[in-house]
Amino acid sequence: MRGLSKSFGGVRAVSDVSFAVAPGEMLALIGPNGAGKSTLFNMVGGQLPPDGGSVLLGGDAITGLGPRAIARRGVGRTFQVTATFGSMTVRENVQMAILAHHGEVWRFWRPAAERHRAAADALLAQVGLAAQADRATGVLAYGDLKRLELAIALGNAPRLLLMDEPTAGMAPAERVGLMHLTRHLATERGLAVLFTEHDMDVVFDVSDRILVLDRGALIAEGDGPAIRADPAVRRVYLGTGATSGGH
């Protein structure tokens, strides 16, 4: 990401933010409410067109493309509020993603039920949902739904995975489990992961690097210990000084 900016009616939500994510790296994006995390996220995912700057994926510009085009180029994402295909079984949810990845959507004849079944089961096994493959998504526990979202995103074989508040609404033990799983998958597949997160324990536990955003600007960047020690970050989070209490 180079110099990304976005304004809403005169308010600069994100200004001139640049950073990079490497394959296999877990990059956390943190900051107080209203810092511009979601705006930044949506610009990378294609839900919002940036006003300025560019997004490069492996050297190709994907700036301003729609969410679908960005997905086709290898960016997967999970949503803060889980979104799965309610009329399908857990396995079919993942099969759907694999079908889409292979460009096999426009087929009208051969039944889809057997297609990529083994690949879907393999992904489900990786996220720990093998036993639930034939269940409806509506009856899954919340933590399992999050795992399913992860499997769906992986079905599209992404190079970059965007996770918006992946552990929101989960019990603390489940949070760690999900993020360790993600960490493991990122290393194994050489997958770059960019995620936002409110739970600081999770952030410091699993991320390789942390970006801190405040009022639309990048104020710090580094690994866990560096961020913990950063005076600017301490000001924003601990409220010492005038940085966050001004209005």
């Binding site: 997967g76 295909f85 399908m88 009208f108």
Partner: protein, 613 residues
């Protein structure tokens, strides 16, 4: 230049009448989120009741005004009745059931009006003051039209005062923005809804009564008015009063000039304007985006393939159907042919509505386009039946693609209303373009060639095509395409994030459904020997909905069962009573109010309860 001013004034007068009706519709929608199909019926009742009152009063302006106000009051009371008896029970039901419930009211009001006032048009005898003219810029202009022109802005002003200067109006505006929030604040929703419905119904009645001097009370008002009102409300933005006013002006003036400049395609012109507006402003000129909470709340159960037992049952039924001509007489063979067509009609609607998630209230449009494609080819080019059967789905598919290009990006209610408006326009074209389509008389002599003329062969052809196409549709639904279509319906955001092209998936579903339905229309025409505008009528569209809902949306076999049951019931009903609309309407209302979660949902609930016991 001479003709510009009078046309403009005519357009403004039309706009006023339109606004009265559309404002009621849009207020009701804003607060209750119900698209009130019976709004046109209230307008029609306004015309009839107005006629009955005004013909009994002295014919001077003061009494005229009083009569009009009494009429509005009467329709407001009827509105309260409808709200209390029918709508109150379906506020939590799926959107489609609400629409069906209000359509049941349309049918009941139709037959009740026919029974009370008779089939003859009732013109209002016009006293001298109503026939007067006023000099406007050197031309003579009807005095009454000027009155109408004034009434529109006056009503808008009064409504604005009520909405912005009273507590009730504040509640209405708040409920339009966020219904849940208003409920959470402890407002009595029942009274709010009832009063809103009364106001809307009163406005509808007012519009109906005020149109009397220029028109007459007739039985066609309900459906023609509801189409215009839908167009206005969609263009203006659902729930927006100023939007309805601006859209009324736009459509009224467009109609007035269209009739002079391009008389044959005025209706098409209106539709084009609507399409252009929606392409640039998908929520109408002044509307807001519809909240999506409703869609998400409607979680569909998992679709699983039918159990083997059901397949065997289907196979046995198919064998029986093939052998039927050896046992059934000619009359039953025509009913069975109708049933085959009904299967195409229902399965094609189910395809776009169930897995596709696009509810259509104008499915008969594709049926009619297919029928007219075959009929016109035969009539004007002497094309034989096989060519007609080929041309019908192609024509319907092409038109569906053009229509779909405008609408597949729209949200549920807008799309449903536009399908209805489109069907009404297709109907009007078939009805008005007399030189080509034969108008009301239709195209006659659309018979199959001699070898296929016997009821037996006609039936077999219908059976082969309808079962064949139904199986193809089923095949597509279990193929990757069908999965992707369902994925787009279940969660559009998620579907896009795995790279699915939601709009294109839906567009193709619409084209497939249109083509299959068009084939049904052609088969039907060859069976009946003619093509008529009634094929495209709104009641015909609603038949398709009834079939699908009878069978249930969630299963692929559902619409087939629904089509068969409906055809059988309708045959019985039409043969046994003249008031079949009334009976059908009452049945719809009863079904919907008794089983607001749908018949399939009710069966499921009963089954679950049985297991617990």
């Amino acid at each position: 230049m001479d003709s510009v001013l009078p046309q403009l004034l005519t357009g403004l007068a039309t706009a006023s009448s339109l606004f009265l009706v559309a404002s009621g519709l849009t207020i009701i929608f804003g607060v209750t989120r119900i698209v009130n199909f019976s709004h046109g019926s209230l307008t029609m009742l306004g015309a009839y009741i107005g006629w009955s009152i005004l013909t009994r009063l002295p014919r001077d302006p003061a009494w005229f005004a009083l009569g009009i106000l009494l009429t509005a009051l009467a329709t407001a009371l009827i509105g309260v009745l409808i709200e209390r008896v029918v709508l109150r029970r379906v506020y939590r039901a799926p959107e489609l059931f609400q629409l069906l419930a209000t359509f049941g009211v349309v049918l009941i009001v139709q037959d009740a009006t026919l029974w009370l006032w008779g089939a003859v048009e009732l013109p209002l005898p016009r006293p001298r003051w109503l026939r007067g003219f006023v000099e406007v810029a050197g031309g003579r202009f009807p005095f009454y039209d000027l009155v109408l022109i004034a009434i529109g802005p006056v009503v808008l002003g009064l409504l604005w005062l009520v909405m912005n200067r009273t507590r009730w109006g504040t509640l209405v505006r708040a409920a339009t923005l966020d219904r849940e929030m208003v409920a959470a604040l402890g407002v009595d929703q029942r009274r709010l809804f009832t009063s809103v419905f009364a106001l809307g119904a009163g406005l509808a009645g007012l519009g109906g009564a005020l149109s009397l001097p220029n028109a007459s009370a007739n039985l066609g008002i309900d459906l023609s008015v509801i189409t215009d009102a839908f167009v206005v409300v969609v263009v203006g933005g659902l729930g927006s009063l100023p939007g309805a006013f601006v859209a009324s002006l736009l459509i009224g003036i467009l109609q007035a000039f269209g009739i002079v400049l391009v008389p044959k395609i005025t209706l098409v012109l209106v539709f084009l304007v609507m399409a252009v507006v929606l392409v640039f402003r998908p929520n109408g000129l002044m509307g807001r985006p519809q909240a999506e909470a409703r869609e998400a709340a409607l979680a569909a159960p998992v679709v699983r393939a039918a159990p083997p037992a059901l397949r065997w049952l289907g196979a046995v039924a198919l064998v029986l159907a093939v052998l039927a001509p050896f046992g059934a007489g000619d009359y039953y063979l025509t009913v069975l042919t109708d049933a085959c067509v009904a299967i195409l009609f229902a399965t094609s609607l189910h395809f776009m509505m169930g897995p596709g998630g696009m509810a259509s209230f104008g499915h008969a449009a594709w049926f009619g386009i297919g029928a007219y494609a075959a009929g016109l080819l035969l009539h004007w080019a002497g094309a034989p039946m096989p060519l007609g059967l080929l041309a019908a789905p192609v024509a319907a598919g092409i038109v569906a693609a053009l229509f779909g290009w405008f609408v597949v990006r729209l949200s549920g209610v807008y799309l449903s209303m536009l399908t209805l408006a489109f069907a009404q326009i297709a109907w009007a074209v078939s009805f008005q373009w007399v030189e080509v389509t034969g108008g009301d008389n239709g195209l006659l002599g659309v018979w199959p060639p001699d070898w296929a003329r016997s009821p037996r062969v006609t039936y077999w052809i219908a059976l082969a095509l309808s079962v064949g196409v139904a199986l193809l549709l089923r095949r597509a639904l279990y193929a990757p395409y069908g999965y992707a279509l369902r994925a787009a319906r279940d969660s559009a955001a998620r579907a896009q994030s795995i790279g699915l092209d939601v709009a294109r998936l839906r567009l193709v579903a619409l084209v497939i459904a249109g083509a299959a339905c068009g084939l049904g229309g052609a088969i039907f025409s060859y069976g009946k020997g003619g093509v008529f505008p009634t094929y495209i009528s709104i009641p015909h569209s609603v038949e398709a909905l009834l079939m699908v809902l009878l069978g249930g949306l969630q299963t692929v076999a559902g619409p087939i069962v629904g089509a068969l049951v409906y055809t059988g019931l309708a045959d019985l009903l039409v043969r046994s009573t003249d008031l079949w609309r009334l009976v059908l309407g009452a049945v719809i209302v009863l079904l919907v109010t008794a089983f607001p979660e749908g018949i399939a949902g009710a069966a499921r609930r009963l089954w679950l309860r049985g297991r617990e016991a």
